[in-house]
Amino acid sequence: MNPFAITTLPLNVEALISYVSSPQAGAINTFIGTVRELTGEKKTIYLKYEAYVPMAEKQLKKIGTEVQEKWPGTRIAIHHRIGSLAISDIAVVIAVSTPHRAASFEACRYAIERIKEIVPIWKKEHWEDGTFWVGNQQETISYEKGEPK
């Protein structure tokens, strides 16, 4: 299995868990991002994810390297789905195994936060009353220039 993949296929949580499982692991943490129906009062019909695939896979791998440097002894896999997703579909799965439990939570949390910072994937909400590219019209968020840290 490619541990860092962007795919149009449904994600297989068990496959990622198996991949990170090892005799050295005492803890596996998985984060699964799913399509939520309501955001505030907006009702989602479906979502569409788009990615710059080769770069996104490189960035996922970079996150894996960062995690293994910060939490030695970690095994990690990340898959992100793109294309059209319905309510409750899985958009992202992160699986992290570590010898002890605290690191599994910390490393998995770190990975999802980094995905939201540096991986070129975009979500387009298809609401009852229109569409919206998430992340580019929220003028309350200021984006500093240059490479994302």
């Binding site: 710059y52 770069m55 540096i118 070129p120 994937i121 590219w133």
Partner: protein, 78 residues
């Protein structure tokens, strides 16, 4: 030749996902001007990150013949 990739809303604004230009040693600023004047891309361009050959770069980089330049709106994966 330099390939310019556009994603998400940028792609919708330009009406295409890839633009090719015959050039060498072009600044990111020059490419932005081209995208704004010729392809009608708006202010979103100012909040985009730029990647050259699949690596994030600073806006000050100079792009050479054979490079692929991607304009990346603020990401929203996860």
């Amino acid at each position: 030749m330099i390939s310019i990739l556009l994603f998400a809303q940028l792609q919708e604004e330009a009406g295409c996902s890839e633009v090719e230009i015959e050039a060498d040693a072009v600044s990111i600023a020059d490419i932005k001007t081209l995208l704004q004047t010729k392809y009608g891309i708006g202010s979103l361009l100012e909040s985009c990150f730029v990647a050259v050959n699949e690596e994030y770069v600073e806006d000050t980089v100079v792009v050479k013949n054979g490079d692929t330049v991607a304009f990346l709106p603020p990401v929203s994966g996860g």
